[in-house]
């Protein structure tokens, strides 16, 4: 499978997006810590989803002593972003996202 297919497949699942959200909030969690973040999943389920994310390059693991830490790797998403975003459109899109953020904050 192409690298990009793996990324899209990994992101197409809400549980895997939730795991990425949790890592975005607190990067470097161990399996045990991630398990506690999604109590509705079994340990095996968390491991299976992390495996898919790791294969897609969205999660990178590093061993430190007894613990394996999981890090959110944003590079594959950046590469996909750059495929369709040129510099002019990126600026306009960023301005719109800022506007959206400001308007929604005010509510």
């Amino acid at each position: 499978m192409e690298d990009e297919d793996l990324v899209f497949k990994a992101l197409a699942d809400p549980t895997r997006r939730l795991l990425l959200d949790r890592l975005f909030e607190r990067d470097g969690m161990t399996l045990g810590e991630l398990e506690a973040e999604v109590p509705e999943l079994t340990r095996f389920g968390v491991m299976r989803h992390l495996g898919v994310l790791e294969q897609a390059g969205l999660v990178v693991t590093r061993k430190q002593g007894r613990y394996k830490h999981h890090y959110l790797n944003p590079v594959p998403i950046r590469l996909i972003y750059e495929r369709w975003m040129d510099k002019y459109r990126a600026r306009q899109a960023a301005a719109l996202l800022d506007l959206k953020g400001q308007l929604e904050e005010r509510r």
């Binding site: 690298d3 607190r26 990067d27 470097g28 969690m29 161990t30 045990g32 810590e33 506690a36 390059g57 990178v60 590093r62 430190q64 613990y67 830490h69 890090y71 790797n73 944003p74 590079v75 594959p76 998403i77 950046r78 590469l79 750059e82 040129d86 510099k87 990126a90 600026r91 960023a94």
Partner: protein, 154 residues
């Protein structure tokens, strides 16, 4: 139970595959002309040995962006240096953090590049700003694989 660890939010990890040999990636990250093309046009000067300085300036050399020290140097596999963002006064007043470049040759002539930016515990502003590594590294990939540089980030 949450076990506090040395890692956590104080560590950021970036990884990508580049379609070239490990030696070429090493050359790209240590050759000033190539660095300028993927790293905001910065001018850099370095002595690639332990204890050597890695200094960088704005493209017109009017502002110093970094004055870092090489902690480990093992071409073409591993380069470790200190990091302090001198281009911003708030970040410059935060303590040094650390950047590790790991290059691993892969089957098929690819190189796996992993960048670890850690020791960021007491440098929250720096930690937030260096999320831009994604941009730098994908730019590096483009420069090495196609010879073209991406347009500057606004």
């Amino acid at each position: 139970m949450t076990i506090p660890t040395e890692a956590g939010t104080s560590t950021q990890v970036y990884q990508l595959y580049i379609n070239t040999a490990a030696e070429e990636v090493w050359r790209a990250i240590t050759d000033p002309a190539t660095v300028a093309r993927f790293f905001f046009g910065q001018v850099c000067e370095a002595t690639y040995e332990v204890g050597g300085h890695l200094r960088s300036w704005s493209p017109d050399r009017s502002k110093m962006w970094g004055d870092n020290v090489i902690l480990e140097c093992d071409p073409p596999r591993r380069l470790v240096h200190t990091w302090r963002s001198l281009y911003d006064p708030d970040m410059a007043s935060e303590p040094d953090s650390r950047v590790t470049w790991e290059i691993e040759a892969q089957p098929g002539g690819f190189a796996k590049l992993t960048l670890i930016h850690d020791r960021l515990d007491d440098s929250p502003k720096t930690a937030a700003s260096v999320r831009g590594w994604s941009y730098i590294l994908s730019n590096l990939k483009t420069v090495v694989e196609t010879g073209a540089a991406l347009p500057p980030l606004m």
